[in-house]
């Protein structure tokens, strides 16, 4: 699978608000289209402006930093880890102040309120997909990356998990059980990776920095020094240069 380098691959800041970079200096028809269809939808009574504002603000508030924090806490506090594995929603509330019932009191129409954390071990590796429609635990991980939503990933991951993981740069030994979780109903899942070696005595903050979104989906493993999700491109060390190209 060639994912290339899309915006969603670069998660350097774990979903923190991006610094106020300037906007592009033109108003595209895409921007106009979104506004126009939204206004018409509201006028036709499909939803209210207030509900839209509430869901939009919620969408802006979520990001993978909460997932990273959850993992770091679970790694450093065994009692919290037990709670995470027993009742994911409660653990989010008590450990992070994150409420899965937002923004409606009953959750969102795609995320619901059944959050299950899947614990990896040295002999068990979880990987998450939703073959039907790319359901994703948005309250704790933010918006899903584009590759997760493609039919390419969804169709192939269930049948060829090892091949797909290899394309992400993750080779899992054959004796380790790979367990694919196809989230086709109302449960939403996240992976609790194995705490890597070399992180003894690390603070929660240091640990948080190496738990990236891809680690919590299951396509990457956390390790010291790895603080961003970048997928291998395997650029040639010696790119071919043809005289024809030089002439263009």
């Amino acid at each position: 699978m060639s994912t290339g380098h899309t915006h969603d691959d670069h998660d350097h800041d774990h979903g923190h608000e991006h610094p106020a970079a300037p906007m592009v200096d033109e108003i595209t028809d895409y921007e106009i289209l979104e506004i126009a269809v939204r206004e018409l939808a509201i006028e036709h009574g499909l939803f209210t402006a207030e509900d839209h504002r509430r869901f939009t603000e919620w969408a802006e508030s979520v990001g993978p930093i909460n997932g990273s924090r959850l993992v770091a806490k679970a790694w450093t506090d065994p009692a919290f880890k037990a709670l995470v594995l027993e009742d994911g929603v409660k653990a989010c509330k008590e450990g992070l102040g994150l409420d899965w019932a937002e923004p409606t009191g009953f959750g969102t129409p795609s995320d619901y309120t059944n959050f299950v954390v899947l614990e990896n071990t040295p002999t068990l590796h979880h990987i998450i997909v939703c073959t039907l429609c790319s359901c994703y635990p948005r309250p704790i991980l933010g918006m899903s990356p584009e590759w997760y939503r493609t039919t390419n990933y969804r169709r192939r991951l269930v049948r060829w998990p090892r091949e797909v993981l290899a394309e992400f740069g993750l080779i899992v030994p054959p004796e380790v059980e790979i367990r694919v979780e196809d989230s086709n109903q109302k449960c939403r899942f996240m992976v609790l990776p194995v705490r890597p070696e070399g992180t003894e005595n690390w603070t929660e903050e240091q640990l948080t920095a190496i738990v990236t979104r891809d680690c919590m989906i299951g396509v990457a493993l956390p390790r010291p020094g790895r603080t961003a999700d970048v997928h291998p491109i395997h650029k040639a060390r010696r790119p071919v240069e043809s005289s024809q190209r030089a002439a263009e």
Binding site: T104, F106, G107, T108, P109, Y112, T113, N114, V116, T131, L132, V158, R159, P161, R162, P174, E175, V176, E177, I178, R179, V180, E181, D182, S183, N184, Q185, K186, C187
Partner: protein, 103 residues
């Protein structure tokens, strides 16, 4: 009742417990369903009970507004896909009770 409000009423007692072997039923594909075709007729094991919820309206011949138990069912990948080469690999997915029968 919105799709998000899980009914407080407990409905019937769950039929299956963790560890039970179950088979995903082969039901006609007349309706929209969240039960994937790749698990139909396959035997797996109950890995967990998740929650109770209404059967989706489109997913039953006789929609009667009843609540039923949902489960996570675990399958061996070798049982799902021909020529799957790795013995230890598994796949889990969720299923409402009426899609399952004892195996």
């Amino acid at each position: 009742m919105t799709a998000n409000e899980i009914p407080k009423a407990s409905g019937a007692a769950p039929r299956f417990k963790v560890g039970d072997r179950v088979r995903v039923r082969q039901m006609p594909n007349m309706f929209y369903t969240r039960t994937q075709s790749y698990v139909r007729g396959v035997i797996g094991t109950i890995a967990a009970r998740t929650y109770k919820d209404l059967i989706p309206e489109e997913d039953a011949f006789n929609y009667d507004g009843k609540v039923e138990q949902y489960y996570i069912v675990r399958f061996r990948q070798k049982d799902l896909w021909e020529e799957y080469p790795f013995d230890n690999d598994t796949l889990q997915t969720e299923s409402p009770e009426h899609w399952l029968e004892p195996a």
